[in-house]
């Protein structure tokens, strides 16, 4: 049983609200007195994930389980899925529409940033059905 289980619905139609869930997780981890560097890695990785769900998948769900030694973030959407995960992981590769670039995203850095800040990341995606992305951030890690 986790110390804290957080469940969020990420709205897909309102770009201005993307990041609310990550901000809330950050706030709650701070209150718990979690390792500050782990908090930052959790917030950034989850924020990029939230942005991705809004840009590509019409929103989704975010489940965050907090344990003393690790935070597990699971992002689930029912969007178009990722046809070529390996390609999507390359820096600079993006399928985001141009209007997203004018908002400061869509440069193909989202997934690489998420991999960089998490200790473990797995992507389970089926074209036409959706994507489940799991990230684990350890409280104590060499990435800190």
């Amino acid at each position: 049983m986790s110390m804290l289980q957080l469940r969020y619905s990420v709205p897909g139609d309102d770009f201005t609200r993307a990041g609310e869930a990550s901000g809330d997780v950050k706030h709650k981890l701070k209150k718990l007195g979690y390792n500050p560097s782990a908090i930052r890695r959790v917030s950034i990785a989850m924020y990029e994930g939230e942005i991705n769900m809004v840009i590509h998948a019409g929103g989704g769900e975010a489940n965050v389980d907090v344990d003393p030694d690790k935070v597990v973030i699971v992002l689930t959407d029912h969007g178009p899925g990722i046809a070529d995960v390996e390609k999507a992981m390359q820096e600079g590769w993006s399928t985001a529409p141009d209007n997203v670039r004018s908002l400061g995203f869509g440069a193909g850095m989202g997934l690489p940033n998420m991999k960089k800040y998490s200790d473990e990341m797995t992507i389970d995606s089926v074209v036409g059905q959706g994507t489940t992305l799991k990230m684990v951030v350890y409280a104590q890690s060499e990435k800190s």
Partner: protein, 116 residues
């Protein structure tokens, strides 16, 4: 330097006031938020020409204390109220990005990303 020094150096207008006595050491200038998120090095100031709520969210995730909108750009009330909630100072400077960054760098604010 302190946030108050930035206000003076950039002839900036304070649109949302956090802690102006906060000590800041490094800054980042970009319109691409994912580039800002790609480097975590205790950067406390963000200079940008992009004016939307995601700029404040990005600063929040990065633990930044101050956002400077360059070339006279002004955010709307949504952006300002979000910044107030998060205790982030918002400034508007008439200088363009290159000049604003240069003026701050000259006075000792660093980039925080060393090239090895």
């Amino acid at each position: 330097m302190k946030v108050q020094n930035i206000v003076n150096i950039l002839k900036a207008e304070i649109l949302a006031e956090g802690d102006l006595q906060e000590e800041v050491k490094t800054a980042c200038g970009s319109d691409m938020m994912s580039d800002v998120l790609a480097f975590v090095k205790d950067q406390s100031v963000l200079l940008t020409g992009l004016v939307n709520p995601q700029v404040v969210r990005t600063a929040e995730m990065m633990d930044m204390h101050c956002i400077i909108f360059v070339r006279g750009k002004r955010p709307d009330e949504t952006v300002l109220s979000l910044a107030r909630q998060k205790d982030i100072t918002i400034l508007a400077t008439p200088y363009r990005m290159f000049t604003a960054c240069g003026l701050l760098y000259e006075k000792g604010l660093e980039g925080g990303c060393d090239v090895s």
